[in-house]
Amino acid sequence: MSSTDRDQNVLLMERLGQGDQSALEELYERWSRPLVNFLYGMCRDRTFAEDLMQDVFVKVWRAAPRYKPLAKFSTWLFHIARNHWLNEREKKLRRIRPVSMDGGGRKNDNGARLRDAIPADTRSPGDLTLDRELADRIDGAVAQLPEKYRDVWLLGASQGLPYEQVSQILGIPVGTVKSRMFQAVRKLRESLAPYAEGV
């Protein structure tokens, strides 16, 4: 993220602290999607992730008057999100189970197994289908990762944050981030190895 983007986040937080609704809307536009995906990666439940994301924005709003840009905005934001998930997960009625690699995966988030008409995407239906299937497989493999590896992977790979920032969000040394990212990728490589290209 450029320094301009960083400054923009700080400016938005200042405006938020003064009650500017448009600043809230703009922050939401910028960060709602990364947040809901990050939280989904944590809790594996789309509806719950959306609720958590709402809660995070409420926390951001309420913290705005006393916000100080001591760290990158994204560091602060994901730190809040992760802590909120850790607090809220105890309230769920049952333990979240990983998505089955053979089960519906995300393709079931919308419930339907019927397919749409061929989309306007210029890729072939085959590419789209295989992409979707691969995404389901990867989604399942990520869900199977031990939590400490998954947290690092979600922040560092899925959200594209540098190791330094991941270490600040998770409160662990950079060396630990490096080690856990390697372990996460190694396990994903093992999980996704079975596909063959042909006999």
Binding site: Q21, N110, G111, R113
Partner: protein, 541 residues
């Protein structure tokens, strides 16, 4: 450092995450070590592929109504803060972070302010008056305190200890018996000079109690969660959270206008639609009259339109109902499926509704200018769209979601000798409303995939290239990228997989293919279909 320990550094080096010194070390090592170069390449490939997949097709969008819900939740606070800013009021940002006040705010709520020093009490009260999160904490704590005080103060009955000892057979200690209150002996009944009046008063009291109960008793909640976890979204609450409901949470009210969402697993609930439903002489009754059992597929959403009419907002619901009039209905836009004591599955996506009937009779149709409907009986499935209403025998493998796709039956030898090829054949029959095109999966033109599961439980997927297929092929279109199937010409294809590459043991194979139906204004995507599994044994040497 040994090469086998370099993994984390190799990945970090590829991602540009190493400090200068570490990067220099890896830079100097890589030219001399092909194993590390290969490992680095492999790690990067996995990282890139998984990152792209997660950031691409499977990335979730933000919820469409998320911003409006957020603004509805924060509305009063936004207005309050804006007003405070406009009037030049001192911003809360001048106060210390709430973490400093949280504990003392609770002390205030408990009514124990005297335990704080005077200055501190003033500081906390001043802060709590203007901080939204502290106001919330104060109010919540006060509510909890009030509720606790209002709870009945139960004391054990005097004879409790005696009863417990009797049940456990434990002899009481002498001291215990002496501690029990003395129960007076019953006195002789007093005979009234007016025996009728003796009974009148208790009867009148009992009648009054019954009348009071009937007037004040509220109906029991109408829905019982049976399995899985769901979320109840109560109508009119706007941006409030959805309430988790599951088998552990007990009955809840699924009122008109409310929505129920399934979580990550199927969610089953039993809904009382008609509390006073009578039981006719039903020939096919699965549940009590007026009751419906609904199983929502993961991620599915259902709202209640009236007592026995529900709207399927997304996904799939398995419905089983007891007899009820005028019938249990599932809507999806103008499309509907209605049952009167039966069991069926209905799935909706965009402008299609598919129904598979397991028991009884289901009426399926559409409303509006081009209204029409048809009855499906057990063992049938139907599809209704804006311009079609189709019906066919149900196929257990398709579960209704590949309604129009061609069906395939995969056959082959049950045992494959050592070193021999595993030979397969499959017949594809076009479904209703053909012709149907089989599309290739990617640019290398595999029209079919074989999904294999080996004795080690791991899965493989084999692309069948055109050169691997034997048998007369139907008309090829689009430079061989598609095959066109018509009702008149089913396609029988044959292919072989080398047994040597499969290895000895038990294998399971499924044939996969994609199809679509060409239309004048585009195409209707029918989806990916798999044949039923074929099990075969590869013999060892």
């Amino acid at each position: 450092m040994r090469c086998e320990d370099r993994g984390p550094d190799l990945l970090a080096h590829a991602l540009g995450q190493l400090d200068a010194a570490s990067r220099a070390l890896v830079d100097s090592h890589l030219p001399q070590c092909s194993a590390c170069r290969k490992e680095r390449e492999s790690l990067v490939a996995t990282h890139s592929a998984t990152q792209s997949a997660m950031q691409g097709a499977s990335s979730l969008p933000a919820p469409a109504d998320g911003l409006s819900r957020l603004l509805a939740t924060l509305g009063p606070e936004i207005e309050s803060r804006r007003s405070a800013t406009a009037s030049g009021a001192k911003s809360v940002s001048s106060a210390a972070p709430c973490a400093e006040f949280a504990e003392d705010v609770v002390v205030l709520a408990l009514g124990s302010a005297e335990s704080l020093s005077g200055a501190r009490r003033d500081e906390v009260e001043q802060h709590a008056a203007s901080c939204a999160s502290c106001i919330e904490q104060l109010e919540t704590t006060q509510l909890l305190v009030s509720a606790t005080k209002a709870a009945a103060n139960l004391a054990p009955a005097p004879q409790s200890l005696q009863r417990i000892l009797e049940r456990t057979g434990e002899p009481a200690e002498q001291g215990d018996r002496e501690a029990l209150p003395q129960v007076p002996e019953p006195t002789r009944p007093h005979r009234s000079r007016f025996p009728a009046l003796t009974w009148f008063a208790p009867l009148a009291l009992a009648a009054g109690v019954l009348i009071a109960i009937s007037l004040t008793e509220t109906e029991a909640p109408n829905t019982l969660p049976e399995a899985g976890i769901g979320y109840l979204h109560v109508a009119g609450r706007g941006a409030s959270k959805q309430i988790p409901v599951g088998a552990d949470s007990g009955r809840f009210d699924f009122a008109i206008g409310d929505e129920v969402h399934a979580g990550q697993e199927p969610f089953t609930l039993e809904v009382v639609c008609q509390p006073d439903a009578e039981a006719p002489e039903a020939r096919d009754r699965t549940l009590a009259p007026g009751v419906a059992r609904l199983t929502l597929a993961p991620g599915s959403r259902l709202s209640r339109a009236d007592e026995s009419r529900f709207t399927l907002l997304a996904g799939q619901v398995n419905v089983s109902t007891g007899p009820m009039a005028p019938g249990f209905t599932v809507d999806a836009g103008d499309l509907f499926a209605r049952a009167k004591g039966t069991q069926f599955v209905v799935a909706a996506a965009d402008q299609r509704l598919v129904v598979v009937v397991e028991k009884g009779v289901v009426e399926m149709g559409r409303r509006g200018a081009d209204a029409t409907s048809q009855e499906l009986t057990a063992g049938e499935q139907g599809l209704v769209t804006a311009d079609r209403l189709l019906r066919r025998a149900a196929d257990g493998t398709s579960r209704g979601d590949a309604f129009l796709a061609p069906r395939a039956a995969l056959t082959g030898a049950a045992r494959v000798g050592p070193g021999s090829d595993a030979e397969f054949s499959a017949e594809l029959n076009v479904g209703l409303a053909g012709p149907v095109d089989i599309a290739s999966f990617d640019a290398s033109l595999p029209l079919f995939l074989v999904r294999l599961k080996g004795p080690d439980g791991r899965e493989r997927q084999v692309k069948l290239q055109p050169s691997m297929l034997r048998g007369e092929r139907p008309h090829a279109a689009d430079e061989g990228r598609t095959l066109r199937l018509t009702a008149e010409s089913p396609y029988e294809l044959r292919f072989a997989l080398p047994g040597a590459d499969l290895g000895p043991g038990r294998w399971e194979a499924r044939l996969r293919y994609m199809s679509y139906r060409a239309q004048s204004d585009g195409a209707e995507w029918l989806g990916v279909v798999e044949s039923a599994p074929l099990v075969f044994e590869v013999e060892g040497e």
